[in-house]
Subunit: 385 residues, 2 copies
């Protein structure tokens, strides 16, 4: 196991009816900005529950945060923040809304020249508005971590700071019943790949972390498809297990003390930036190709993954790895996601643009040992055709 | 899954050489009381590393906290706290030292009449001194939770408050190499039983919690015995996996959203209080008996435990449960712990005293459904003979 420091102070309120907990979590003298996306929270009742919980608070609202939230949209929030002296953000939505709130929180108190530098130049900041979150879509884990991704003119860039980690997060699995199959499929696969990217690396004998990751993968494999099947899709217990898995997949715990290989996410971001493909659908296309191209470097963990997650214990090493990769692809298909570039109408002629963008964003030494060169990324994309 | 609220803000610094992190965690203007037990931290170098890390701090010390820390000892710390205006406690030791520091922290700022009421009358308190911890014995999880147990005249009573949860904890597995086999065996079994008591209940379909608990049990089963075997006992990786398992077993995470049955601990406390038996050795005696007496109520989870933790999938239900209980006892024996009252020279004539003490302490409705009556506790103790 590697040395590590770990802290996750986000307070979680989990379960049906927990939205009312926000009334006690946000100080009564706060000036709250309720931040959300499109109108879905108005049709599924979450907006009303939130407004009810804020009955004694002073609050304003800012809506219109899109999937893959954009710099231009998020900067517009600064108007109401200054005009109304906002000092607390309440993000109500999925990972994009929570990510967006994080950038708004950092920008509101930013003392540098240009807030875009937080993303483009990795510029640090020393303060941010406090954030609370009401999660409506289990996927990104953003509700209890300090990470966010923001897009500007097709450039999709991450930043991270403990200052923007939500102070509390409400996870009510019953509100996810109104999600579309596409949102559920995307969310389950996103959480699955978050787990894989902290697990499928060289082996440092982190036995607790490995077992926890395997437990999350198994839970997502068992429960994910149920959320799409007619007989079980309305089962709140299924939704609860998916929701808790997605939070645990990226709250920092399973990645503490082990290497992490975020290659799939980094290549995936270029697919979204260049072609507008849903985040999770870029992951389901890239991950199998990463597994195939990096099978030698990941051999030990791929065999462990085959055995412990998929119960594959027959056949020689290569056959077991092939079978595990095949079952991973089959799981993504069962969640109704693509596994090839051709599934989203991309082909060999599109690879050069993706490679150029990886270079432009400095993504030329990926993987936990920084040994995935741009040539290897090219090989991965070719494998994914 | 049950509704829950969960927060664990303790910052963990894990790995060899991390004791130096305390220099940055404790404010430089703090007046620190270093709290420890006997002299073991002086012979294994932990005391010196701690003193070195506090080179720029103002600090004092209070030693002599015994295993199963006593009220009388802990109250003596109030003298130096008042005389030196102590405002920060640094606990250096195992669970008993950390537990003791928690009671000292609560007592220092207690505004009620009698600090014993915190334990005897479950009296709440509104403030406590901040605590940091350097853990030297992986077992109790006390380094990142708000629980403590204190003994007075043979009465061993628990209290809990988020106010006494350590702000930070240093976990350096290399310092555990100097522990005796008895300390290691006790610690591994303590962590194992903590996990079991949050797992072996009626089933609420908390799939993540179940998988995490099973992962901890498997890790302790795999790594525990290695810490006693000549060829592997000096392996720091083994110690690291045990140490992280013990912390994760009782930091609140695996118990969030699931029922908990602390019967084994509650009966075990009476065995320690009445006869001075090591805490973990009471658990290894009581748990198998609880499994046998409560096999019908715990049937579903016992079968899951048999299959997922011990890979027992052959034979009828009862045979599989018997085998799982047998393997649990064999594991405890491999860790060099007793599994019967007769192993610690107790017999049928001692049961009445234990029953009387359970009654005296109000332990007459144990278990996650409060249905373990005093008669059932009698049956459990008889089963454990």
């Amino acid at each position: 196991m590697l040395n590590f420091s770990f802290q996750n102070p986000t307070k979680i309120h989990f379960g049906a009816g927990q939205i009312k907990a926000i009334s006690k979590e946000i100080p009564l003298n706060a000036r709250v900005l309720l931040v959300y996306g499109g109108g879905s929270i108005k049709s599924n009742g979450v907006y009303q529950q939130t407004v009810d919980a804020l009955a004694k608070h002073t609050w304003f609202e800012f809506s219109g945060i899109e999937p893959n939230p954009t710099y231009d949209t998020l900067m517009q929030a600064q108007g109401v923040i200054k005009a109304e002296k906002i000092d607390y953000l309440l993000a109500v939505g999925g990972g994009s809304v929570v990510d967006g709130a994080k950038f708004i929180a950092a920008t509101a108190l930013f003392e540098g020249d240009d807030p875009w530098d937080i993303l483009a130049k990795n510029q640090s900041f020393t303060k941010a508005l406090p954030i609370g979150a009401v999660l409506t879509l289990p996927a990104t884990g953003s509700e209890s971590n300090g990470n966010a991704v923001v897009t500007r003119e097709g450039n999709k860039l991450p930043f991270a700071s403990p200052l923007v980690r939500p102070l509390f997060a409400v996870l009510d699995p019953s509100v996810t019943l109104s999600l579309s199959d596409r949102q559920i499929g995307n969310g389950v696969v996103d959480a699955f790949v978050h787990t894989i990217e902290q697990y499928l690396t060289y082996n440092v004998n982190g036995k607790v972390q490995d077992r926890f990751s395997e437990g999350l993968l198994q839970t997502l494999i068992e429960e994910g498809p149920k959320a799409l099947l007619p007989d079980t899709k309305d089962n709140v217990e299924v939704r609860a297990n998916i929701m808790w898995s997605a939070t645990m997949a990226l709250n920092g715990l399973i990645g503490a003390g082990v290497p992490q290989d975020w290659t799939t996410h980094m290549i995936g971001h270029e697919l979204t930036g260049a072609f507008g493909i849903d985040h999770a659908r870029t992951l389901s296309i890239v991950l199998p190709a990463v597994m195939k191209v990096r099978r030698e470097q990941k051999r030990e963990k791929l065999l462990q993954y085959a055995s412990r997650v998929w119960y594959i214990n027959e056949g020689d090493d290569n056959a077991r790895i092939d079978q595990a990769i095949g079952l991973t692809e089959a799981f993504f298909k069962k969640m109704q996601l693509p596994t090839r570039l051709s599934d989203v109408d991309l082909g060999i002629n599109d690879i050069e643009l993706l490679i150029a963008r990886l270079k432009q964003h400095g993504m030329t030494a990926l993987g936990e040992q920084s040994d995935i060169t741009i040539d290897i990324s090219h090989e991965i994309l070719t494998q994914a055709l």
